[in-house]
């Protein structure tokens, strides 16, 4: 079956968005390009299976998600740069006093789910994610976006469960600080 030019064009318009989405999770421009390319090729071959679905972007994101998981698994087999293994996010210690109390009590976010209706909120979230160190962001996205279990994340990133929990904790604390500053505190 010949792919319609119309369909091909629609896919191309989504490429910048797909690249942004893949870069967030792979932290490597070349790997992100590859994953997007693979997803687009798969999408072109699968035009028939798209027929009738409401949202091209959602369908395409679903395909790309699988390609990203594949890419992460490939990356995991490559040697890890050791300097990255112990990367630190900001510093959690700065948030607390020596006795472990908040230096500054977290502010209320009201009804934060209202933000999920706003595209600007997701831009702010992406910017906050981009500020995290690469492997921390990757572990966080594997856990919270791709929904992988910690056991698998540890295996793919070749770290212990304890290290994995610490990374996820640091990511969550850094992200809530960042969103407080760039979104909820405004």
């Amino acid at each position: 079956m010949a792919t319609s030019d119309e369909f091909r064009k629609q896919l191309e318009t989504l490429r910048p968005y797909l690249l942004r989405y893949a870069s967030l999770q792979l932290r490597d421009a070349a790997a992100a390009e590859d994953a997007v390319q693979e997803a687009l090729v798969a999408a072109l071959a699968g035009e028939a299976s798209f027929a009738g679905r409401a949202n091209l972007r959602t369908w395409l994101t679903g395909i790309l998600k699988h390609k990203i998981v594949d890419a992460i698994r490939r990356q995991a087999r490559e040697p890890v740069v050791s300097a990255e293994a112990d990367e630190e996010v900001g510093d959690i210690d700065e948030l607390f006093t020596e006795r472990g109390h908040w230096n500054e009590r977290p502010a209320a976010w009201g009804n934060p789910d209202g933000a999920l209706e706003q595209s600007q909120f997701f831009r702010a979230l992406e910017l906050c994610l981009a500020r995290l160190p690469g492997r921390t962001a990757q572990a966080f996205m594997m856990r919270e976006h791709l929904g992988l279990e910690t056991g698998e994340i540890c295996k793919e990133l070749d770290i212990t469960p304890t290290h994995c929990w610490v990374m996820l904790y640091r990511a969550r604390m850094a992200l809530r600080e960042c969103l407080q500053q760039t979104w909820f505190g405004k």
């Binding site: 934060p112 856990r143 904790y169």
Partner: protein, 60 residues
Amino acid sequence: MKLLSCKETTRLVSQGLDRELAFGERVALRVHFAICLGCRRASRQMEFLRRAVRELPGRP
């Protein structure tokens, strides 16, 4: 029972999103939440983060 600091509480809240907490850990969290507004907020905010990141990339 050992009382948790806010730092220990947030660490445990985060772990609760990644593994099943033990009974004692859950009790310790409840006790702390009862007296600490900041940690109740931080806990809700971490849960919100999960919902938000699942929805990425959001609306076009």
